[in-house]
C-alpha cells in the first residue's frame, strides 16, 4: 500500500485530498497542527467508511514538531511515497506592498515557504526509499509572476503581497529541488488547485474542494512519464 503525508490536512483542500487518495488505496498520514482538529478530521473520514488513515501531529513552522512527526512516522513505515506540502495561510489584510505589516509578511512565509522547505528536507530520506516518490507543493496562480504582471488576467487586481510572494518563493523552491532530483525517479511539482471555496478565502472560491483536491491528486499520482519541476493547474502546465 502506497503512503502519503499531507500537511494541513485537517480541513479544506487538504482533508479532501486525504479522502480522495485514501479512496485510491493510499495509506494517508493526515498532518495537523492541532491534535483535536486532526482527530475530528480522522473521525469524519472514518464515518465516511475510510479506515486507511492516521493522524500525525505536525506544525510545519516548528522544527521540533517536524522532527517528532518524522520519528513517529518512522516507527510505522519505512517508505513514504508522496509528500503533499499543503499547509498554508493567507495572512492578514491589508496586504498591499507599501502597507503590509512586516510581521504579517514574515508569518505567511513561515508557513507557506520555510515550513514547506523544512518539512521536505526532513522527510526526504523516507521519500528516497520509494520507487516513485512524488512531492506536490500546493501553490497558487496568484503566485505567478507572469499572471500578476498581465493586466488582462482575471485576477490581476488580487495583489495579496504576502500570500502571492510566498507562493512565488515556493515555486522557486520547486524548480530548484526538481533540478537537484532530475536524474532520479522523483516528480516534484507546484500545483495550483484553483480558486476553491475554503476558509482561506472566506468560501468565496468558485469551485468545490473536490475539484481543487482532484488537481493535487493528479500530480501526487503521476506515473513515470509525468513532468517534474513544473507549475500545474487544472488545465495543465501554467505560467511561472
Amino acid at each position: 500500500m502506497k503512503t502519503v503525508l499531507i500537511t494541513g490536512a485537517n480541513k479544506g483542500i487538504g482533508l479532501e485530498t486525504a479522502k480522495q487518495l485514501a479512496q485510491l488505496g493510499y495509506f494517508v498520514y493526515l498532518g495537523s497542527r492541532d491534535k483535536a482538529k486532526g482527530l475530528d478530521a480522522i473521525n469524519k473520514l472514518k464515518d465516511a467508511g475510510i479506515s486507511n488513515v492516521e493522524l500525525i501531529e505536525l506544525d510545519v513552522t516548528d522544527i521540533n514538531s517536524i522532527k517528532q512527526a518524522k520519528q513517529e512516522l518512522e516507527t510505522k513505515i519505512e517508505v513514504l511515497d508522496v509528500l503533499i506540502n499543503n499547509a498554508g495561510i493567507s495572512g492578514e489584510i491589508p496586504q498591499n506592498a507599501s502597507g503590509i505589516e512586516l510581521e504579517n509578511l514574515r508569518k505567511v512565509f513561515e508557513t507557506n515557504y520555510f515550513g514547506a522547505i523544512q518539512t521536505t528536507q526532513h522527510f526526504i530520506d523516507l521519500l528516497k526509499k520509494s520507487d516513485e516518490p512524488r512531492i506536490v507543493n500546493v501553490s497558487s496562480e496568484l503566485g505567478s509572476l507572469i499572471n500578476q504582471s498581465n493586466p488582462d488576467w482575471a485576477f490581476y487586481d488580487y495583489k495579496l503581497t504576502a500570500y502571492c510572494s510566498s507562493k512565488t518563493a515556493l515555486n522557486a523552491f520547486t524548480v530548484m529541488l526538481a533540478y537537484e532530483f532530475k536524474d532520479t525517479n522523483f516528480k516534484i511539482n507546484s500545483v495550483s488547485p484553483g480558486y476553491t471555496a475554503t476558509d482561506l478565502n472566506q468560501y468565496r472560491g468558485t469551485q468545490s474542494v473536490a475539484q481543487g483536491a482532484s488537481v493535487i491528486v493528479k500530480y501526487a499520482t503521476l506515473d513515470k512519464n509525468g513532468g517534474t519541476g513544473k507549475f500545474y493547474n487544472e488545465e495543465g502546465e501554467t505560467a511561472w
Binding site: Y113, I117, Q148, F173
Partner: protein
Amino acid sequence: MKTVLITGANKGIGFETAKQLLQKGFYVYIGSRNLENGLEAVEKLKAINLTNLKAIQIDVTDDNSVKNARTEIGKKTDVLDVLINNAGINGGVPNTALEARTDQFLAAFNTNVFGVARVTQAFIDLLKKSPEPRIVMVSSSVGSLTLQSDPNWLAYNFAKYAVYGSSKAALNMFTIHLAYELRDTAFKVNAVCPGYTKTDFTNHNGGEVEEAAKRVVKYALLDKDGVTGKFISEETNPTTGEIAW
C-alpha cells in the same frame, strides 16, 4: 539637486552606483549597515572630488535602524527622488534546496525581501514628494523562474542557488505589486539585474563593476516614458533589457 538613497552602498555595485550618480549631479545618501564602512566609502569618494554625499547607518533587517535612517535623512531633505534597494546577501553555503539550512533561508529573505519592504515602506512618503520618483530593486536573473526552468539558459547548470534565487523571485513579486499599487502615479518601479559581476559576492568573478552599476543607474534615471513593473537584465537581453519572470 536630486537625491538618492542607496542601501549597501559602502562597497561593490552599490558603491560604484553611488559614484556614477554623484558624477551625474545627485546628492547621494550612502546607506551602510556599518557606519564606519559607510564613512570610509564617503572618504574614498571625497578623495576624487565627489562631495555631495553623506553616510547613513542603515541595517535593512532592523526596524529601529531603518527608522533612525529615515529620521536622519528627513532632517536633511523633504524629497527623495530615487531609492535603490541594493543591499543583499547571497545566503551562504550550502546553497541547494535540499541542504541549505532554514536559518540561511531566513537570513536571505530577511535582507533581500523583508528588508526591501521595510526600507521601501519607510521612505515611500519622501519619494512621493518627488515629481519623478524611481525605485530600483537590485534583483538577479537567477531569480527568473522561466530561465531557471529552461535547459537552454546559459547558467542553467551553475546558477541553481536555491536560497538566493528564490529570495530574488519573491522580491520580483514584491516589485510587481508595488509597481501595480503606484501605477497611476509618476513612480517607476523596476527589478534590475546588474549582471554577474566581480565583487566579493561572487568571489570576484564576473564582469566589471562599472558596467553593472551603469545598468542600475539607467533605471534610476528613467524619464517619464520609462517602464515600470518590469524585470530587466541587459546581460541576458541586451536589446530591450526586459526578461521573463
